[in-house]
Symmetry: C2
Subunit: 224 residues, 2 copies
């Protein structure tokens, strides 16, 4: 049914990036291939080279997309609230394309929205008394933590196709459950929780909160 060789849609840089993001979400980043993307447009592989310089540039462009739809981060609340809001907005953006989320980290500083967010976050932290090195570490870790939370949402292999992921997780869960319970009581107990989070929003809230709590506690310790 669904035409494998798609109806020849209009080819453009944006369309190519969109399609690539969709492929990455459905089948993992490993499925992104110049030839494969071209095929989806019913076009010859070399046609893509008119719109993107090469595959690396395509991957970069995919990473850039996340920062074009970055929600404005509210500026109210104390510094910790704002740090939380910053990470949370990154998480929201990255969750749009979990299969390509890791591409974002390399592109933050190349995107105006990314730079603005980084600048504000650094300002927040510096004003609170963190050293330059600490502020830089926290800002970079904030980005990486957001990526990590999204790509790792259910312990799924991030490069696998969406259809296979369910099966892989089940295998993983069963392996944990089959562990000798006298030696691994807690792993057996946590088998479900490690391979499937039934409260997705809670998972993200917990992850973001823990990151912010870490920053806050670190600051408090430094001041003491």
């Amino acid at each position: 049914m669904g035409a494998k060789v798609a109806v020849r849609a209009d080819l453009s840089r944006d369309a190519i990036v969109d399609r690539s993001l969709a492929i990455a979400d459905a089948e993992g980043i490993g499925a992104i291939t110049i030839r494969r993307v071209a095929q989806e447009f019913g076009v010859t592989p070399m046609a893509l080279y008119w719109h993107v310089k090469n595959k690396d540039e395509l991957l970069d462009a995919m990473g850039d997309r996340f920062f074009e739809h970055l929600d404005p981060v509210p500026t109210d609340g104390d510094w910790a609230d704002q740090l939380r809001a910053a990470v949370a907005s990154l998480v929201v953006a990255l969750r749009r394309h979990p299969g390509a989320a890791h591409l974002a980290a390399a592109r933050v500083m190349h995107c105006a929205a990314g730079r603005d967010l980084a600048e504000r976050t650094l300002g927040l932290l510096r004003a609170e008394g963190f050293t330059v090195a600490q502020a830089a570490d926290i800002a970079r870790n904030a980005m990486q933590t957001a990526v990590m939370l999204v790509t790792n949402e259910a312990g799924a292999e991030p490069h696998a196709a969406a259809e296979l992921r369910q099966g892989l997780l089940e295998t993983k869960r069963n392996a944990l459950k089959a562990l000798p319970i006298d030696r691994y009581p807690h792993l057996v107990e946590a088998a479900d929780a490690m391979t499937d989070c039934e409260d997705v929003d809670g998972y993200y809230e917990f992850g973001v909160d823990m990151f912010v709590a870490g920053a806050r506690a670190t600051l408090a310790a430094a001041k003491a």
Copy 2:
């Protein structure tokens, strides 16, 4: 000089994995190729298939290596100290092969040392009152945080060759320094800190401490 086609060393599974780890560290994981590794042994690509099932299995075997040299984690101190020790020992192990560190995450549960560490960590957290879901989240994040700290040590592109990395970082730093200072004062200020941490041990200590502080503060908040 240094023979590109190496003196034909004894081919074995262990030797193949060792070589591959060395290549990954020097040139990034992208340089790992069945044909390339074979070439280093002065052997035909198909020779490798006698020792490893395929490339995926080779990558898995590389990930397994980290858990074969995992320092025993001390059991003294309170739960937070032990959590810190667990993450720190992961960091030490991963730093041995930064170019392949990200392969470890998928292999924890397949290695006895990894399972033991996870089991103990879960036990630690459960005894303290964390829910199963929270303990599972923290344990998984602990692993991912260790990987993140190592692969992200200096903001370097993790897939680039070691020789190019220096240059890439300099380019990045210069780009930050060249930013309009009225709009991005903190990014300009932090340009050096974002692209080069001169105190490496401090970087890791800070990262691990912040993670543990986050867990501790989260627990305190839950109990309040």
